[in-house]
């Protein structure tokens, strides 16, 4: 019963988090704003992944597929038909949802699970990357630049003069994804997802249709991931197949929810709040190291090395994520 009460408060928590982010953003400088944008961006992607990877327990290792479809759909529509990125985003989400349905149907129909499902999703994403690198329609591996109109436009999702508007754009998208995510988690759909994750045969015996609900999870997760892809193109101003379909993106997407707490509502955000600045700080640390470590100054790779070590340490010492570790700490404290 206490769990139910906790869950119902999540909407208030979301309101509070949004308000804090919005208010705090007013006092941040340029660098801090761009960091805040990255945090929300990765939290959004992590939350989207978490619906499939966390709640439904299907470990996707190829979310770059949906991310890339979102990115390319909106930018192609923008360039060829002058379609607003907001509409393009919706179209990208629809297309990514369809592709997720295809991948999901093919994989789940034949009972792919665990490592096999992870490798299959990885292969699908890599195939899209290879195909995109050859496709004339999207300018092959050369990539596409978003045409600049100069100045700010909410319709075109371009803010040359006041880049901080991107912050509010990603905040809106983040809230949308979190609303879906909370709805899934506290609605009976979410309980069915978790039942399937814990024991598929038992769930099926109780009348839950595993194929149907797993498909629902992958479609929702894929469509929401595409939103992040569309946002990335507008914010970065350029896209190529390696950037959006590469393995690196699939890894980055699942890193934060796992470090934060897989299958929890706030895990992805917490993971993003911890890991995103960490990557920035290690980069900064290498740029301006303390006197006794001058040898590493400006060496490419040292920052990612440090990040890798910290990542390994977090996974070894907090196997169920930051949220899991916090829950355990509280239990120990209370008892």
């Amino acid at each position: 019963m206490s769990k139910l009460r906790e869950l119902s408060s999540d909407y208030y928590w979301l309101l509070a988090v949004t308000a804090v982010f919005a208010v705090v953003s007013l006092f941040l400088d340029q660098f801090q704003i761009s960091l805040a944008i990255l945090i929300l961006f990765w939290a959004l992607l992590g939350a989207a992944w978490n619906i499939l990877g966390g709640y439904a327990g299907q470990f996707s290792f190829g979310h770059a597929a949906y991310y890339g479809i979102g990115a390319y759909t909106s930018v192609v529509l923008l360039i060829n038909f002058e379609v607003s990125p907001w509409v393009g985003m919706a179209a990208g989400a629809a297309l990514a949802g369809l592709f997720a349905l295809l991948i999901g149907y093919l994989s789940f129909r034949y009972g792919l699970k665990g490592a096999y499902f992870a490798l299959a999703t990885f292969a699908f994403a890599e195939m899209l990357r290879l195909i995109a690198s050859e496709l004339e329609l999207i300018n092959t591996s050369v990539g596409i630049h978003v045409p600049l109109i100069g100045g700010d436009s909410w319709l075109r999702l371009q803010f040359e003069d006041t880049p901080s508007n991107f912050f509010f754009a990603i905040l809106i998208l983040f809230v949308v994804v979190m609303l879906v995510s909370i709805w899934v988690a506290r609605h009976k759909v979410g309980y069915y997802f978790q039942a399937i994750r814990e024991d598929e045969d038992a769930a099926a015996a109780l009348g839950v249709d595993p194929l149907g609900y797993k498909l629902a999870a992958i479609v929702i997760s894929g469509a929401l991931t595409a939103l992040g892809g569309s946002f990335f193109v507008q914010h970065f101003g350029y896209v190529n197949p390696e950037l959006v379909f590469g393995v690196a993106i699939s890894i980055e997407i699942l890193l934060r929810p796992i470090v934060g707490g897989i299958g929890t509502i706030w895990g992805p955000l917490i993971g993003a709040i911890v890991l995103t600045p960490l990557a920035e700080f290690t980069r900064d640390f290498v740029r301006n190291p303390p006197p006794f470590l001058e040898i590493i100054e400006g060496r490419a790779g040292v920052d990612v090395m440090i990040f890798g070590v910290i990542l390994i340490a977090i996974i070894i010492f907090m196997p169920d994520g930051i949220v899991g570790a916090a829950v355990r700490l509280r239990e120990r404290f209370l008892s």
Partner: protein, 338 residues
Amino acid sequence: MAVILQSRRRKIIFAAGAVLLLAILLGLNADQASEWFEQNDPVLRQALVTGILIGGVFALVAMGLTLIFGVLDIINFAHGALMTVGMYITFVLFDNYGIDPYISILITVPALFLIGVVVQRVIIRPASNAPPHNLLLLTLGLALLLQNAMLVIFSGTPRSIRLDYGRGETPIGPFIIDFPLHLFGTTITLNKLIAFIMAMVLAAGLYILLQKTDLGKAIRASAQDKEGAALVGVDIQRIGLITFGIGVACVGAAASLVLPFFFVDPVAGNTFNITAFVIVVLGGLGSIPGALLGAFIVGITQEMGVVFMPSSTKLLGVFIVFILVLLFRPQGLMGKKE
């Protein structure tokens, strides 16, 4: 049972339909098809031979991967990064001390075995009770760490080595053979031939080790049933350690073998990692003979794929085969059904 039969029958019908469709397509364009095959005959032959030769090296990498999965249930994402380490060791030994890459196998194999043992002890074992995705992320973190350590040490410049033999007349034992070898209208370089032969010898050695020795029996026992193996007195912690070491030693050998006709940069091993995934799933996760079979299929597919789809990268054909296998036979060609 009926359901299984039904689904199998559906698969057979589906596969037969696909073959029929292909035959009709070819039949409709019989003239053009035969003309195309005639034109591309030398290219196809070359692709077949190159595919088999490179498949031998893939087999070595994939056997290491599948062994680690079989015993420790880990998909080792650092496999490629560890291979890059082996390639840099080979490069440094050649560049600084003039040690022939085929001799440096004697150094890379034990070195990578040790690295594997340390990695297993320090990183993998502390997390051995964690959920599987954590292990996957750990190996990913290790790959990041290794790749960037090599970037720091060797910079991103691709490096290669050039052997001063293998072109022109080369004495091999009592014979003098002119390299590159021309056989059945194909060209075979000495480097690739040596790589293939040595990879096959090492693979056979590994197979014998697993089948005939006590250590091999203990490894196979822990792959089949950990608790059962522990009950009959197998020290499964120690076996885990040794298995990871052997798996990583395999890529050490592969690294030395490919360097004479490849190059090394901090991410050079990644393509081998991806290819090895495909091979291992193709053959059946955990199956050593499956890895061998899968390696040849993938080697030939990637070389042939370029002939049929000239503009695409080598991997596209491989991924298509991969996805077909995952969908129609997810347990792999030689894997056991769950």
